[in-house]
Symmetry: C2
Subunit: 227 residues, 2 copies
DNA sequence: ATATACATCTCGAGA
DNA sequence: TCTCGAGGTGTATAT
C-alpha cells in the first residue's frame, strides 16, 4: 500500500465527469490496483472523493510523482491526478489475507427463522428454504395450521422495496393452482412505517423478530419437551 | 488526518457484530471524527474493512497507541481496535474545503430531458417537472400528440426498482379521472434486460437516452429554425 | 430529527 | 462474463 499526501487536483471521466480543484489530499494506492483519494472530512466522510476499483492500469510519472493516471483495464474510465507538491510518500505492506467475520446479516436471520418458523406466525411449519420461483427464490415457504401456504420474505430492515419484492413473488406463486391461496409475511428486525402501510394494502402481514430472542429461544421441538 | 499503520485486531458491535483478526492495516482518523480501517486489498477494495461515520467519540489509549475505542455519539455502536505494534504514525492537515464538481448525474439528465421532452417519445410536450403525487413527485409529466398524458421516470440506470417505482406513481395518477389514461415511460442511459421485461408486462415503455446526444442536439425549437 | 432517493454506489454469489 | 441483490450501505435533500 502506497500513501501519498499531496497538493493535487483530480479529474475523473467515465460513468460521469468530476473535477476536484487543487488541494491537499491523501492518495491511497493498494496492492490490488485500487486507488482512492481522501480529503480530511468536508464533503466526503468515509467515502473517498475520487476512486477507481480494480482492475486498473496505474501510471505514475516522475519521482517525486507530478502526475498519476489511472485507467480501468476494461472500459473507458480515467482518473487523472495532477500533483503540485508531495508532502509525504510512504509504502507499507499491509495485510491482504484475513477475512472479516460477520454475524447478524440476513443469512443468519434466515437460518434462525428456518429453525423456528413459528416465530414468523402461529403454528407455521417450514416446507422449504429458498423456494424457487421463476423470478428468484422466496426465503421461506411454510404451511399454516389449516394447511394454507405462506411465503416469508426475510430482511434485516423491512422497507417498501421488501414489500414490493414479496408481492412480485406472490404474483408468481399464485399462478400455480397448487399454491393459489398463498399468503405473504414480511419478517424483519425492524419494519419501516411506510412499509407497514404498503404491506397492509397488499394484504401482506408484518412480523418484527429479534436476533437476541431468536438466539435465546429454544427450538420449538425442545420447548415441547421442556414444558 | 492521522494515519496509523499498525498490527491490530478490530471488533465492531452495533448494527451487527464483526471481528477482524490480528494483522497489519491502515487506520485513518479524519478531522471530522470518521474512522476507517483499510487492508491492502483482499476482501475489501475501495470500502474499508471497518469504519465509523461521524459524529463519534474517539478514545486513543497510550503513546504509541495500544488501544483505540470509537463510539457513536448517538446510538450504541462501538469499534474496538487492539494494537500489537505501531509501524508508522503520522498526522497531516488535508484539504477540508473544496467541493467535488460533478457532471452527468441524474439531475443533469432530468434537466436535459425537460428541455427536450421529445427525446422521451415522439411529439412529447412537457407539462411540468416534478409532477406531485401523494407518494412523491414524477420526474416529468408530458402530453402526447393526441393529448394523452405520459409520466416519465428518469434514471441513470434503469432497473426493476425503477419500473416498480413508476408503476406505483401510475397507480396514483390514474386514480384522478383527469389523468386516468396516463401512460408510463422509463428513460435511462442504460436499461437492464430484466427491467425491460418487467416494464413490458406493466405496459411501460422504455427509452435509452445518451447524455452526449442530448448535449449535442439542439433544442427542438432551434432545430425548426435551422432546418 | 426523520424519511426518502441517489450513488462513478461496492461487493459477492450464481448462472 | 454478466446479472442480481445485500449492505454496518454512505450521502444529500426535503420534510
Amino acid at each position: 500500500m502506497r500513501l501519498i499526501m499531496a497538493r493535487c487536483e483530480v479529474a475523473y471521466t467515465g460513468r460521469l465527469s468530476t473535477f476536484l480543484p487543487m488541494g491537499v489530499r491523501l492518495l491511497m494506492i493498494k496492492a490490488d490496483g485500487s486507488v482512492q483519494i481522501h480529503s480530511d472530512g468536508g464533503g466526503s466522510k468515509v467515502k473517498p472523493q475520487n476512486w477507481m476499483t480494480p482492475p486498473t492500469v496505474i501510471d505514475i510519472e516522475g519521482d517525486p510523482p507530478h502526475r498519476i493516471e489511472v485507467r480501468k483495464r476494461k472500459g473507458s474510465e480515467r482518473l487523472e491526478i495532477t500533483i503540485d507538491e508531495v508532502l509525504a510518500d510512504v509504502s507499507h505492506d499491509a495485510d491482504v489475507e484475513s477475512a472479516l467475520e460477520k454475524d447478524g446479516v440476513e443469512r443468519d436471520l434466515q437460518e434462525l427463522l428456518a429453525a423456528r418458523p413459528a416465530q414468523c406466525g402461529e403454528g407455521f411449519r417450514l416446507v422449504r428454504r429458498e423456494w424457487p420461483t421463476d423470478i428468484g427464490p422466496v426465503d421461506l415457504m411454510c404451511r399454516e395450521p389449516g394447511d394454507g401456504w405462506v411465503a416469508v420474505e426475510i430482511k434485516r430492515l423491512g422497507t417498501i422495496e421488501a414489500v414490493e419484492q414479496l408481492a412480485r413473488y406472490l404474483e408468481r406463486i399464485r399462478l400455480d393452482p397448487a399454491t393459489a391461496d398463498c399468503r405473504g409475511v414480511l419478517a424483519a428486525q425492524v419494519i419501516k412505517p411506510q412499509a407497514r402501510v404498503l404491506a397492509q394494502s397488499r394484504g401482506i402481514a408484518c412480523v418484527e423478530v429479534s436476533l437476541e430472542e431468536l438466539r435465546g429461544s429454544r427450538e420449538p421441538d425442545l420447548q415441547l419437551f421442556s414444558a
